[in-house]
């Protein structure tokens, strides 16, 4: 019985963590290539709105998810054009993307407010899913959750086990040196930004199609910013992103249940924890990384213009 309660809590935490994992893993790839995209929140919410609209129109959750990813990708393409193609400032461009995404999501979602949809189907394997204590957790999730887990593994493998991943990390470390070697700095950065956008859009789609599952304006509620914090908190490592997302997701769940649990802490403090933890992580990182080398991509946030 208690085992099932634990499982229920873990399932809730995993559900809260999934959109964070999806958005953060995409942002991680972009940042590893040296591009800081502050527009995660905008791409996420646009993805949520488009995914819900597509799913309502076609009746297909899969097409909805693809639409969400495509929406994020489209916004990211705009960002990539500005920052990678035209060397515009990444901070300002990312913020403009957030505002644009929020606005566009409202336009797209206007006709769908208040409509509820069946949540994305969850896996059900007779026998396995019913296993006590772990069955629901391991074998009873929807496709988004498994996709998030698979993405973490795939990105981790890609970055550290493939030549293309090595190239991407090298470009995030020193675009000038890699350009001199003839590597395609701008192409790789642009593709990384696109990947980040698609992931953020997918994270939004999860919210609209599986987590809630309905569309409401502003429904991402700052998850895009938490995803940004998460990437830093995880020191740009995919597995730590997953762990951090569970931690941050856990804090969210805890906050929801804080009053019920009778904790004497104000709810606001729990809500602030992810942000305070990220600031703390940044401080600890800089204290630890002072001998040389850096855990952050060295060229993060710096525009690159190939010398003539």
């Amino acid at each position: 019985m208690t085992l099932d309660i634990v499982q229920m809590v873990l399932v809730t935490v995993l559900a809260a963590a999934t959109p964070l994992i999806l958005a953060a893993i995409g942002e991680l790839v972009a940042e590893r290539a040296g591009v800081l995209n502050l527009g995660v929140e905008g791409m996420m919410i646009f993805g949520a709105a488009v995914s819900f609209a597509v799913a309502m129109q076609t009746g297909s959750t899969l097409l909805g998810a693809l639409g969400g990813a495509g929406a994020g990708l489209g916004l990211a393409a705009l960002f990539g054009l500005l920052t990678v193609g035209l060397a515009a400032n990444q901070v300002a461009s990312g913020l403009s993307l957030t505002i644009l995404g929020l606005g566009l999501s409202g336009l797209v979602g206007a006709n769908y407010v208040g409509i509820k949809r069946d949540p994305a189907p969850q896996l059900a394997i007779p026998g396995l899913t019913d296993l006590p204590g772990i069955g629901r957790l391991l074998f009873g999730q929807d496709a988004f959750v498994y996709a998030a887990v698979a993405l973490v593994a795939a990105v981790s493998w890609f970055l550290w086990r493939t030549r293309a991943g090595l190239t991407l990390r090298a470009i995030g470390d020193d675009p000038i040196a890699t350009h001199a070697l003839g590597l395609k700095v701008r192409r790789v950065r642009f593709l990384s930004v696109l990947f980040g956008g698609a992931c953020a859009g997918l994270g939004g789609a999860y919210l609209a199609l599986a987590y809630t599952p309905f569309w409401s304006p502003g429904m991402t509620a700052g998850r895009g910013w938490i995803a940004l914090a998460l990437v830093v908190f995880a020191t740009w490592r995919p597995l730590r992103v997953a762990a951090g997302a569970l931690l941050f997701g856990g804090a969210t769940v805890l906050q929801l249940h804080a009053q019920a649990a009778g904790l004497g802490l104000p709810g606001q403090l729990l809500s602030a924890l992810p942000y305070l933890a990220t600031v703390l992580a940044l401080v600890l990182l800089s204290l630890g990384g002072r001998q040389g080398g850096s855990p952050a991509p060295a060229a993060l946030g710096r525009v690159f213009t190939p010398s003539r």
């Binding site: 990390r169 001199a180 070697l181 060295a298």
Partner: protein, 534 residues
């Protein structure tokens, strides 16, 4: 093989001897209105070490980037065994067997040695196989590397080894080396030379870019000399003297600096006592027990190979780096080691750093703002924190007039000036302050001969008026021309100065290479030699 497209440039002309391995014909490269290469021809044969000589700014780097596919020529063709080839990117160059060892290493600091090498290898060569190849090369050529070390923890020599190994792993037919010894210790340079000679014996061609004549004469049997973007000569360096090579590089006879009658040496104005400073960064040099004394009317030259602590010594003198013990640095007897650059300026010192763009001057700002940049502590350019724009413009105009600075527009951005004119502006800005002490790092680096002569003359004149001057330079000719005494900076230590008249280029050269046994008998300390008169 046929040319991929018709070319407007002149076709390869018939040459005497066998078809060269690589050729470049009629290469023109323009950047806006500036022509970096203007009809350059170059032929490289298998098995030779071919020197490409020229001053800074002569167009060597541009030509080399074209050969490596980093730049596309505006006109002209590159050939391989007589066939015209296109080099749109470095990958194409690598496929043709062209490898490159960069002067500014193209290494990612936070990646490991092996990862940095893997970046340019074909995808199938990785992991164990790559590590084995690296180890084998290391044994064959004496280029030892630890594959798992991150690059940020390596010395300059080790980093260059990565570059060379990376290049050799591609089994290149042509290796381009851009100023390869500029960051090496003499021992490391010697090891490099034997690797290069072995590569040539293996039948590879090497294009050796340098402005160090002694190295070129030791290594190369053919040299192409560039000046202002054009080929001005080809020769066998071994049949030339350093002086004749230099004459070809520099062009018209260099203006002789006329020294004014030197007044009696004045009081001691600048003094360093046993200054020690830790290296400010991974690639920097620590200063160790540096002492020097300079009196009014004296010019002390500090020779040395780049990267032996010149920038660090300049920073310690200027106050951009502070000394732990204030008494280590004295201006006119006052301890100033703990004072910043502006406090030292107010005590009558002035400084000209090596890098014009971005250090001595802000390229995007106007000349009058650049006058303000270093003179705001010493000239009446502000009042109660407010700028006096007119005063800054007047100062800039006075510098421009006194130093014959050529510019376009009334108050253009500093970056629009040519190197020589900007350097004249920067030097003039400091000299017009009539400083009692002037520290100047590489005063004529990359500057045309006429501007260089103008700058040297101004420095000599300042000394004649009683200024105490430290000239840090890699250019021995320059030091022998204007310095009264010369000390050598090597690996962060400064040798005792010797009067210029009592030493020779050979003796100084040995000290620069770090062979202390060749040091001449120490001049009586403090060595106060007069500025040399001609």
């Amino acid at each position: 093989m046929e040319a991929a497209r018709p070319v407007s440039a002149p076709l390869p002309r018939a040459t005497a001897g066998p078809t060269p391995l690589f050729g470049a014909y009629g290469i023109v490269k323009r950047f806006g209105s500036f022509t970096a290469n203007d009809g350059v021809d170059l032929e490289i044969r298998a098995g030779e070490i071919h020197a490409l000589l020229g001053e800074n700014g002569a167009g060597k780097s541009t030509l080399m980037k074209i050969l490596y596919g980093l730049l596309e020529p505006s006109e002209g063709v590159v050939t391989h065994r007589g066939d015209i080839v296109q080099l749109p990117n470095p990958e194409a160059a690598r496929r043709l067997g062209i490898g490159m060892v960069f002067q500014h290493f193209s290494l990612c600091e936070n990646l490991t040695v092996e990862e940095n090498i893997a970046l340019v290898m074909p995808p199938e060569l990785s992991g164990r196989a790559l590590a084995d190849r690296i180890a084998k090369l290391g044994i064959d050529y004496g280029l030892h590397l630890e594959p798992d070390r991150p690059v940020w923890s390596l010395s300059a020599g080790e980093r260059q080894r990565i570059e060379i190994v990376r290049c050799l792993l591609q089994d290149p037919k042509l290796v381009i080396l851009d100023e390869p010894t500029s960051v090496l210790t003499p021992g490391e340079a010697e090891a490099l030379f034997s690797v290069l000679e072995r590569l040539a014996r293996e039948g590879r061609a090497l294009l050796y870019i340098s402005h160090r004549l002694d190295e070129v004469r030791r290594l190369c049997v053919r040299a192409t000399i560039l000046r202002a973007g054009r080929v001005v000569g080809a020769c066998n360096p071994r049949e030339e003297t350093a002086r004749s090579l230099a004459a070809m590089m520099v062009g018209s006879a260099v203006h002789e600096v006329s020294a004014r009658a030197v007044r009696a040496i004045g009081a001691e104005r600048l003094r360093l006592d046993h200054l020690a400073l830790p290296a400010p960064g991974l690639h920097a040099t620590a200063l160790r027990d540096v002492s020097l004394r300079v009196s009014g009317g004296e010019i002390l030259g500090i020779a040395g190979i780049a990267g032996n602590g010149q920038a660090e010594l300049f920073a310690a003198l200027s106050g951009e780096a502070l000394a732990a013990d204030p008494a280590c640095v004295r201006l006119d007897g006052k301890p100033v080691g703990g004072l910043g650059i502006n406090a030292r300026r107010r005590l009558g010192a002035a400084f000209v750093p090596e890098e014009r763009n971005g250090h001595a001057a802000a390229p995007l700002m106007s000349l009058s703002e650049n006058a303000l940049l270093s003179r705001h502590p010493t000239a009446p350019l502000t009042r109660a924190g407010l700028l006096r724009a007119g005063a800054a413009r007047d100062l800039a105009q006075r510098v421009i007039a006194a130093f014959d600075v050529r510019k376009s527009g009334p108050d253009p951005a500093a970056g629009t000036l040519s190197g020589g004119n900007l350097q004249k502006f920067v030097v003039g800005r400091e000299i017009l302050a009539q400083p009692g002490v002037l520290v100047i790092n590489q005063p004529t680096w990359g500057v045309d001969a006429a501007a260089a002569a103008h700058i040297r003359q101004a420095v000599v004149d300042l000394a004649a008026q009683g200024g105490a001057i430290v000239v840090i330079s890699q250019d021995l000719d320059e030091l022998f021309e204007i310095a009264g005494s010369i000390a050598v900076l090597h690996d962060g230590t400064l040798s005792a100065p010797v009067p210029t008249a009592e030493t020779s280029r050979e003796a100084i050269g040995l000290l620069m290479g770090g062979s202390s046994d060749a040091a001449p008998a120490l001049a009586p300390a403090p060595a106060l030699a007069p500025a040399r008169t001609h």
